[in-house]
Amino acid sequence: MSDELPEALPKEPTGSISRRDFLKKTGWIAAGVLAPAGALELIFGLKGASSAQAAEAATTAQTVPHWQFLVDANKCVGCGFCVKACKLENDVPYEADASRTWVERHVVTKDGVSHVDSPNSARDGFTTPDIDIGEGKTLQINPEDIAKAFFVPKLCNQCNHPPCVQVCPVGATYKGPDGVVLVDRTWCIGCGYCINACPYGARFFHPVYHTAEKCTFCEHRISKGLLPACVQACPFAARRIGNQNDPTDGVAEVIATQRVEVLKAEYGTNPQCFYIGLDSEVR
């Protein structure tokens, strides 16, 4: 027994550490802690904004537009020219049952039931009083039973806090400098998270490109000083677009100073599509 003790003794100091090892290990740990931050900087270009950059950003904020949309639902007659123009302008296959914008018909009967339809996204307008209830079936409503009925144009709300952008795993969708949420078709992997995340159902799969597709406020038109195709096509000025950063913009002034409503404000998405004449039936 006494012979074994000397053998066991040298094993005891394994927990102890020499000054040299301590410094070495501390160095490695410090490097290990700092490395991820350095890697982030390397990979994403994360850098603290210098004061010069901040000043530059402040200047661009005033010159770069921030687009907002104004829908006057009172004026909409459900002709669907906006949907036709949008599909043709933006190469969304005309026969596909998918569209960047659509018009809903809301018919509320006196028994409190709300009937909502948008056949073919209202591409051909509403030319029959019968409600499209899917699978090729329609529902006839006696005009005397109608309490109220109206049309509501819908499109992407270009939210200031877009949930669709937050869920994109690859950085393919983003809020551009002018406030419009865009999809990078070369980067999109088609996972569909954004389509599910949008509370407004504004996104869909493009049948040809097989990527997420959405309204761009006609970025290619508004950046050239033109109106979006739907705004230009609307005969009744039910759709209008404004620039929040332009103090002389009449539409932005209406949004800022008149009584307007947004869809699903409770989601905290801060939508940039504003409505006049929105009924509480509309979600």
């Binding site: 123009a85 109220k148 865009l182 195709a229 005969p235």
Partner: protein, 147 residues
């Protein structure tokens, strides 16, 4: 391990464009910057009525003096891109369905449809072989004298 990291970083440097990164906040502005320009350079298809009017002066003046002045030419005739250089003829667009977009009567007093003259596009307004434009000029719509 180090080799793997180096391989990944080299692959990343080759595969990912230099302008891909954070342009604002990480949450909303993490993207490839050139894509904005790509979207902005999409060709414009709908030209607007002043483009049409620069050649078709007569029809332009006619419709602009009528209650249909609010309707863009291209709503019925299709987008004017390529016309007249490559697209020689644009569709005329005079089907009953086109007129019915606005002029179908719908019993919706709360909507804008209520202020537009409306008909039932079925019988008796669907006699065989007759179109709306046989009696109504879409560029100069006036109520028929006997209506």
């Amino acid at each position: 391990m180090v080799f793997l990291v180096v391989v990944l970083l080299v692959a990343r440097a080759i595969y990912i464009p230099g302008d891909f990164g954070i342009h604002g906040t990480f949450t909303y502005n993490f993207y490839r910057q050139a894509n904005v320009t790509e979207w902005q350079s999409v060709p414009v298809k709908y030209q607007g009525r002043s483009y049409c009017g620069s050649c078709h002066q007569r029809n332009y003046d006619l419709i602009m003096a009528s209650p249909h002045s609010v309707i863009q030419c291209e709503n019925c005739h299709g987008p004017g891109i390529g016309h007249p250089d490559t697209v020689k003829k644009l569709p005329i667009g005079n089907s009953r369905q086109l007129c019915a977009r606005c002029h179908t009567y719908l019993p919706y007093p709360a909507s804008g449809r209520a202020v537009i003259p409306g008909i039932d596009p079925g019988a008796p307004h669907a006699p065989t072989g007759m179109e709306c434009y046989d009696c109504h000029n879409p560029h100069q719509p006036v109520p028929l004298p006997n209506s």
